[in-house]
Symmetry: C2
Subunit: 211 residues, 2 copies
């Protein structure tokens, strides 16, 4: 059974699930959601995910949403990305929650506002606010990666997959890899994994389609 991932290329949260699926070796295919034309809020899509968000997966009779839940399901099916000990499992959950709260929750709206919102709707004060919170989160991430290859344990986990996602996008959102040496080498380590692909090669839809 091929897992279907409802997603669109620009979605950093979708990329977390897409990258986890690709690196896991499971069979999957992307199903494009036309987010910028409101498809995520359509009655059909709300049947798949009542939260009206991407990503969601359908695996036979099962539908799941929230990237953290999807990666957890991949862990259940493959044993990958979950951490090896109870301590590691807790650390993985801790970083996934931290990412959802402190990193991606800022980066998502910041990148959206700086790149995908019409210029007249971009609010410099909100951009400054989100930039400040993003930089504080990047500082925490940079420190956590000091002297470590992966956030938790000795191989890639959901912690890395969740935190890295937005940082692979090319659009400007106040993040320059070379300013953050630990983050930079960690991202390079992920890029070197067999099967790694950039977001726009893994999922349909990109800013180029709307240019």
């Amino acid at each position: 059974m091929t897992i279907q991932l409802y997603c669109f290329g620009e979605s950093g949260h979708s990329y977390k699930a897409a990258l986890a699926l690709e690196l896991s070796g499971l069979e999957w295919e992307p199903k494009y959601v036309d987010f910028f034309n409101g498809e995520a809020r359509s009655p059909e899509y709300l049947k798949i995910n009542a939260m009206g968000e991407c990503p969601a997966i359908v695996d036979g009779d099962l539908s799941l949403s929230q990237s953290g839940v999807i990666i957890d399901y991949i862990t259940e099916k493959t044993g990958k990305f979950g951490g090896k000990t109870p301590e590691e499992k807790r650390e993985v959950l801790r970083w996934v929650l931290w990412d959802n709260h402190k990193l991606s929750a800022q980066l998502g709206p910041l990148r959206f506002m700086m790149n995908f919102l019409p210029e007249e709707k971009r609010n410099p004060e909100v951009i400054a606010f989100l930039t400040g919170r993003t930089q504080a989160a990047l500082k925490t991430l940079e420190s956590a990666l000091e002297g470590k290859d992966w956030l938790v344990g000795d191989e890639i986990t959901a912690a890395d997959l969740s935190c890295c996602s937005y940082l692979f996008y090319p659009e400007p959102f106040g993040f320059t890899r070379s300013d953050w040496p630990n983050i930079d080498t960690w991202l390079a380590r992920i890029e070197a994994l067999p099967g790694y692909k950039i977001p726009y090669d893994l999922m349909p839809g990109s800013p180029a389609d709307r240019a």
Copy 2:
């Protein structure tokens, strides 16, 4: 062994853990963190939680942070709040992640800015931005509670404990219970649980101390 919860009364994230501990029946005590004077960023506190945030717990040799991880640990110890089936467990995680990303991540900074930041630093544009995102999240929550006593299954879980927390605070942040009938009766259901206490009765520190 008494579990120590590092927290302060104003912290909605701390309240999630405090309420879970209190309702679980475990022995616990609050340890006050003087957040407003920077204690959460002190070298001593960073040894307990490198993320520099509240809450954190210490249980013997173990320290844990992130309210979602702490409640998960309470589930491990007591069997409570985790959901009963694999499907329920996934749904619980889904709502905890959603709360961290869409509800509390907006409500926390919004309430802080509207109440605890000096007036000259309150930014109306950022308040409007966060208010918009908060109202959208409340709408999702209100719909999800339609015809249901609890977010997942037939008893209180981490999903409810995570999502309800900020909504019990008395300071203004654009939330009026009577505007949201499903949320209102759900909060009343939580208030009716044996052992329920409001945030400022469960943890030390409140705006009254700084008045």
